[in-house]
Symmetry: C2
Subunit: 75 residues, 2 copies
């Protein structure tokens, strides 16, 4: 998640849409998801804006917190 | 893919195993996959050793080159 934001790519937009949908289904705020995944709220916000090419280690933390397969976040 | 290598995490090991398997099924060398995904051969090698928390933009290039869903690389 380092460096300047770059324009969203299709996979970033899929991640952003899936994250918002999965949070909404659980009625979790960005803060709720951040706490469960041991991340900072700003990282969730950046992902939901497609700002970065998020690393797979972080993707796995989200999948574990949301109890979904990684494919449900990225496909 | 920047920075020093860090110990492989479970998701990196899954990516490494899936990449090798999908390459083998296609009888592609690391060079073949690198050329099709417009990456450097060294990047493929590093991923197959689990050295980095690969970014999702790069994961998507691999999935397109291999004609698989992202979940087939990471789950």
């Amino acid at each position: 998640m380092a460096g300047m934001p770059t324009p969203p790519t299709p996979i970033r937009l899929r991640l952003a849409d899936n994250l918002r949908r999965l949070r909404d289904e659980r009625e979790w705020s960005q803060e709720d998801l951040a706490a469960k995944a041991k991340l900072h709220r700003n990282q969730i916000g950046a992902m939901e804006r497609g700002e970065n090419s998020v690393g797979i280690d972080l993707i796995d933390k989200l999948a574990v917190a949301l109890e979904v397969n990684v494919g449900e976040l990225l496909d």
